[in-house]
Amino acid sequence: MSNNSLSFWEDSGSSRSGIMAWLTTTDHKRIGLMYMYIILAMFIAGLCLGLAIRLELIAPGRTIMDAQTYNTVFTLHGVIMIFIVVIPSIPAAIGNLVLPIQLGAEDVAFPRLNLFSWYLYVGGTLLALVSLFTGGGAPDTGWTFYVPFSEFTTTNVSVAVIAVFILGFSSILTGLNFITTIHRLRAPGMTWTKIPLFTWSLYATGWIQVLATPVLGITVLLIFAERVLGVGLFDPNKGGDPILYQHLFWIYSHPAVYIMILPAMGVVSDIIPVFARKPIFGYKAIAFSSLMIAFAGSLVWAHHMFTSGMSDTAVLIFSLLTFVVAIPSAIKVFNWTATLYKGSISVEPPLLYALGFIFLFSVGGLTGLILGSAGTDVHVHDTYFVVSHFHYVIFGGTGFGMFAAAHFWLPKYYGRMYNKKIAKIAFYILFVGFNLLYFPLFIIGLEGMPRRYYDYLPQYQEGHVISTVGSWILAVGIIIMLVNLWRGFTKGEKVGRNPWGAATLEWATPTPPPLLNFDEEPDASRKPYDFRGITPDE
């Protein structure tokens, strides 16, 4: 390990030291880590809420909390997991760590704006927490804030929606920053077809963040206006149309699903070739399908509204378009599988998590077809089938993508390696727990168990019991995984420049990277998945 320059841990680039050097840093790597720590803390909080929900549902009737508490718990679980954990997880945390180095740049295009986004994120998170303890109590509307219920409820929805507005703004600025960085700061020689696919996916994601998130912003501001001023834009008693709210909400919130999943797809596209020692199959198709998903994904929002009272014509159009979005996702899955063909595969932890992603995402995607098809959606809409579907996509997809990314990239930044054997054991426990937790929910959903139910009819209990047991196994898996990562990064063996033998630029710089990322001008003309002549440097 040759380290002739100081790493970003030692050299903050400013005269400040200690915690202040972190809080005032404009270094993308430090900002990425700061995102990661808060996301991790909030992830654990959201996880505990999720476990509480599962425990409550192990038996009909009251188990550990009353109905009102239950309603606030699932609302908080949703708001925290979606707006505070999943949306910023890969783009803001991993993206900040990796994207500029992959491009051969010194930093993002607007480093100070990057820090500002982080402060907005922290501010939004704090405000969301404030909403729990002030006003009429924690919000109980579900993360969708559907009107007119959200206008009438006495709980503290007004503060919560402002928190969502601020978090949305943070997300917009991150997207804006990344798009500009990709356009302007690529190292000489890095043409558009040499950009690693992870960065490509963040490019597509950035566009959704910039173009869709403002609609969420205005939507939550309108809820605020409705509650505070009583304008009545969504209140039927004053001439408003509650279904229009749903249109506005989903115009953002469906593309938001792609903000969550696209970066995870990018992670998988970057990991699989490395461990198969072989170029990604169909680079252009994967890169292009990211853009396709981003665009087509913006046109399908109303498939969340097939039973809302919307017109049948709209159901026809949106159902059809929804199936169109399935195609690019399918292409990606086939290309990943084909990348393994005639490779030289070594199943290291990052690959394992990436393969876990492919399976779970496939289950989530394929059950999504049931939801896209109008006739079948009517039956399973707002049931546990949907709950299971989106957990497979968001948790099985983005969550496992995040875990894969952590196992793949973090050793580079901490300079130390975790215990690979324990990482694999954790994966298997996670995988089993995950399926035990969510698969039974498909079944009871098909049988007609509605979501957001505090209490339920006795015929659904069996599924709930299995699911709750699964949640405990999943929790054990996550604890093992996190402890293993933490121990690795504090006490593990030191790693060299390129422990996995990858070909993208972040592996060509010292471990951990120096403040301005590179000692010498990197060679960006090499293809990102050309592994010939590259040997792992452990």
Binding site: G13, T26, E106, D107, A109, F110, P111, L113, I172, G175, L176, N177, I179, T180, H183, R184, L185, V210, L211, A212, T213, P214, V215, G217, I218, T219, L222, A225, L229, G230, V231, G232, L233, K238, G239, G240, D241, L244, H247, L248, I251, L516
Partner: protein, 199 residues
């Protein structure tokens, strides 16, 4: 890191991306406007008749002129005529002031007639009129907030020009502030016919 800050095209790309978010922020309200115009055509007509076309037109002219003024200021700074650039920026800020004063007069008149969001008088009117005025207050209100932000932004630019942070070689900050101001104007170009001239 210093050279990233001098990336003129990058700064401009970033600004445009930000402007897109502004367009779509208002876009959400335009979706609502379109939907409710479709549903309450006649009521919107009645509502539109109650707005003051004269003030609306006056404000349109003021904003168009201010847009010209800031465009001219950018031309002058590029030509090295800093004094003129500063003066034309002042002119733009003055226009913003006139706009806000007009807006206040107009809103006060509405309040005087008992029309404000959720007012007893408004609740007695038809659903369509309630929605029309609801949209009117929210959209022009949000726009007015943008006018004020724009004016503050331009004031900072004046200060930058005086400090020579903005000069003939490095004027992208002024240009971006100008872009922001044009977007404010652009949104008004649509608000004006949709509220004051609606039929």
């Amino acid at each position: 890191m210093s050279n990233t800050h001098k990336d003129y095209a990058g700064a401009k790309l970033g600004m445009w991306l930000f402007l897109f978010t502004e367009v779509l922020l208002f876009g959400g309200m335009f979706v609502l406007y379109a939907a409710y115009l479709h549903e309450y055509r006649a009521d919107f007509h009645v509502g539109g008749k109650q707005l003051d076309v004269f003030i609306g037109t006056l404000n349109t002219v003021v904003l168009l002129f201010s847009s010209f003024a800031i465009a001219a200021a950018i031309t002058f700074i590029q030509q090295g005529k800093k004094k003129l650039a500063v003066n034309f920026t002042y002119l733009t800020i003055a226009c913003a002031g006139i706009f806000v004063i007009n807006k206040t007069i107009e809103w006060r008149a509405k309040f005087h007639h008992g029309i404000w969001p959720d007012s007893p008088h408004l609740r007695e009117m038809s659903h369509g009129e309630n929605i029309f005025f609801g949209l009117y207050f929210l959209m022009t209100g949000l726009h007015a907030v943008h006018v004020v932000i724009g004016a503050i932004l331009l004031s900072v630019m004046v200060w930058f020009m005086k400090k020579d942070v903005i000069n003939q070689q490095d004027f992208v900050k002024l240009e971006n502030a100008g872009l922001y101001w044009h977007i404010v104007d652009l949104i008004w170009i649509f608000l004006f016919p949709l509220f004051y001239l609606v039929l």
